[in-house]
Each structure stands twice: as structure tokens, then as C-alpha cells.
């Protein structure tokens, strides 16, 4: 993905590699180097085994729909999105981490929990910022 046009948010949190990964066109997710558990939200320490060794692993942008909502009300900060729009929680394949994202909804067909989806990296404009995000499609 051409990330040259993105105005990156200053990110210095535990999830910084995730944002940097999206900017580089890759989905990177954190896994504990001690016990192998996937961790999300990203943390600097694994509460299960105590390890502070966090590995960032690339995953394919394939997922299933965990749940969804279609928003019709114009809430503040959503001005760049055409109404209605669908937001989802997506379970990423081969790790089980759930990510918040948007789903293409051209025909307003209700999403089905468990349905397979594929993602591409896009961005959501909020105020003057373009926040990188995965935009999912069915099939």
C-alpha cells in the first residue's frame, strides 16, 4: 500500500508496531515469546506467564465476522463515512485476535456471524487525520 499520503498519528503505545505495520502494508500482531499466547490489546508484559518478550508476527488479512453493527446516526468523528456504514469485530485467521474494522456494505446485506472475509488496508479520515485501518469484504 502507498502510505505516503497518510498522516500518521503519533503512536508510542504498546501497539505501535501494529500501526507501523499497517503503514507498511502488513498486518502485524503480537504474540508472547514466553508462552506463545496472542495478546490483544497489545501489552508490554504477558499476564499469563510474566514474559516481557513480545514478538510481532505477520498474519494474512483473512478473518471471520465475530459481530457487527450498521450505524445510521451521524455521531461526531464519523463525518467522513457515508451513512449507513458497517463496523465489525473480525476474528483474524491463524491467531484468534479480534480486530475492530469496517466492512464493505454495498447492498446492505446483513453480515452473518462466522462469515469469511478478506481485508485490504485503507484509512479512515477523522478530523484532519487519516487513520490506517483494515477494510473487509465478503468472500
Amino acid at each position: 500500500m502507498d502510505s505516503g499520503g497518510l498522516i500518521m498519528h503519533v503512536n508510542d503505545g504498546a501497539d505501535a508496531p501494529y500501526w507501523n505495520g499497517l503503514a507498511e502494508g502488513r498486518l502485524l500482531l503480537p504474540r508472547c515469546g514466553g508462552c506463545g499466547r496472542w495478546m490483544w490489546p497489545a501489552m508490554n508484559r504477558c499476564g499469563a506467564c510474566g514474559s516481557e518478550d513480545v514478538e510481532w508476527i505477520q498474519r494474512e488479512m483473512r478473518a471471520t465476522i465475530f459481530s457487527w453493527t450498521r450505524t445510521w446516526h451521524r455521531f461526531g468523528y464519523t463525518e467522513s463515512l457515508d451513512l449507513p456504514f458497517v463496523s465489525i469485530v473480525a476474528t483474524v485467521a491463524d491467531c484468534g485476535i479480534r480486530l475492530l474494522g469496517r466492512l464493505d456494505d454495498p447492498d446492505q446485506v446483513d453480515p452473518v456471524i462466522g462469515e469469511g472475509i478478506a481485508g485490504r488496508i485503507g484509512a479512515t479520515r477523522v478530523g484532519t487525520r487519516d487513520i490506517p485501518t483494515i477494510i473487509w469484504s465478503r468472500g
Binding site: S67, W72, L100
Partner: protein, 388 residues
Amino acid sequence: MHPLYGTTAVAGIGMRQYRRGASPLPEQGALVEAILTACADAGFDPADVDGFVSYGDDKNEPVRLMPALGTRELKWSSVVWGGGGGGIAGAFGLAAAAIVSGQASAVIVFRALVEGSSGRLSAAVMAHHLNDHMLAAGIVAPAQVCAIRANRMYEHHGVPRSVAEELVRASYYHGSRNPEAIAYGTDIDLDEMRDSRWIAEPFRLFDCSRENDGAAAFLMVSAERARDLKKAPAYLLGCANGAERGWGDLLENDDEALYPTAGFRPIARRLYADTGLTPSDIDVIQLYENFSAQGVASLIDHGFCTYENVAEVVRFENLIAPTGKLPVNTGGGNFAQGFIHGIGTAYEAVKQLRGESANPVPDAKLCLLAGGPGAPTVSSAIFGNEIP
């Protein structure tokens, strides 16, 4: 017996409530009026109040109330963490902790919210959680977060969507009969409700609570002292607050079984264990419903029904006083009594136990107060007009 069991009580209550944007007083003024009313209700000198507790990021730091109340000495000043209404019942537990441990003797539990002073509540609640993961997904409001969870509860866990309407109707039925309710005198139009505009699916406008201006205050003292005051005590019998592993502010990565719940499973477990009471002992429920589905999830979490039999229990006829077996939100709840961050549910709990409710439940002795569902930390309490 648990140290909170029947050792403290609500001795006085006061509330000022207005339509959103219509408060004649600024927030602190409305709050002081509510506190003075609660003290007068109990026949208690407001200058003798020595503690204050609130929740949900209330802006009124107690030390600033002292001049208007004539407070002699402030000994306890605390809040329950969290921006949502999850802490409402926990605030009573915190006040009781102060009294039982001797750190204060007369504690006001309060919540005040006047839009002109503090802005919109929904925006304040979300400020706790908003991050780029949510913003990028277009998820910016409590309604959307709760909608995603509701869809999972309906679709994956098989809860029929019709139960939401039953709960909303019960709240409006009670509110329309409560002179202190925003919905007083207005019967709900079922077609209007069913055709109301979508907010975030599965929620239409009538599935969402709407904010009001105002304040409410509760005077808590020891059970012994409460018995010498003007009104019959509403004893605190138990209170639990918190979250279990796999629940919280987890970017929707909660434990899969907990995900569609309202977060009360550990709260209900502790509350019933600490009090020795069970769901079948509860006579009436004041249920914080930010959104219809979360109100239903809260009833399930507290053991009043299950995913399997929810449609048999959450029926309009079963939820209304005086004839229903599970009377819920007898003042009208957040939907119809009014929504000052849920504090009206606690107000109705005390009124019901005193026999002062506009929709009295015959012979009601025990009332469950269930705090804001779906919040990262949640709380519940049981009050009684006797100590069983």
C-alpha cells in the same frame, strides 16, 4: 456475616430532574438542592455530613460543596473509577465502607449532570475508551459498542430480539404513572417505538436511554443511626463491584462466553454469596438500562433468566407492578423515569422499599440495584426494608 450486611442504610433521598438543557440551576446548584432535600428527608443537619461518594466522572469535587452546605469537616471524599454507569451501586458500597470502618459517619452518595455545565454524557463516557482502533472503525459512541454486543447475543446466543421491546414497554408503563418521571402522563405509542429511526443496528431510538439534567443525593449512615431518623431505613444488605479476567476494556477481545454478557457474572456471584440471598428472594429490580439489550443481558447475568428461557421471563406483563412476578424499573428506569447517569434507579429503589413508589410492589422487602451494564467495571447492590 459479611460486614456490609445490614450495617448501613439510606436514610434520606433527594432529586432534581429536568429535560436535557433545561435545568434552571447550574450543576453544582442542582446538586446542593438535591443534597439539602435528602438531609431534610431524613431530618438530618446537612452541616453534619462528613463524607461524599460519586461515580462516572462526576465533576463536583466534594470539597467545593462545603461552603454551600455548611459542612463542618470533610472526612471521606472518593469516587468509583470508570466513566460509565457501572459504578453506581458500587458508590453505595464505598459509602458503607467509610461508615463501617469509622472513617466517616454520614456520607452523601450523589451524581449530578447538567449539560450546560458538563457537556454531553455520552461524549464524556467515550472519552475514556476512544482510541485509534475504534475511531478507524467508526465506533465512537456507547450505542455502537453495545449494539455490536447485542447482535452477538441475539444472533449467536439465540436471545429473541422481541425481549428488548418488552423491557422498554415496562419502563414506559411505569414512567407514565410516576409523577416524578420525564414520561409521566404519556403512554408509549407502540408503532412509533417500532418505527423509530435506526441509531446503530439492532438499536432504534427507543432502545436507547436519553440524557436528562439534574442531580440526586442519598444520605447514608449506620443502620443504628438510621433507625433514629425521620424515614424508614433502606438497609444496604450487600454490594459488589469489579470485573473478572476476560472482561474489561479489551478492544472487544473479551472471553468469548463473557462477550455478550453485561459483565455481572462475578458481581452477582459475590453479591448472592455475601448476602446469602438468591434471585428468587428479590421482590423488585431497579435495572440500569443504557440500551435495551444490555438491560436484558443484566437480568440474565443476575440469574433471573437464561439464554434459553429469557422470552418466558422478560414479558411485559411479568415486568410490571403490581401484578408481574419480576417487577422491573418501577419508577420508569433510565428510559422513562429519566437519565441522570442512572441515579434515578437508586432513587426508585429506596422509594419502593419505603412504600412511596408511584407503582408499588405489594409487600416488597428486597430490591436489587443493578448498575450500568456492559461497562468495563460494573456493580450491583441489594437493599432491604428489613434485615432478613
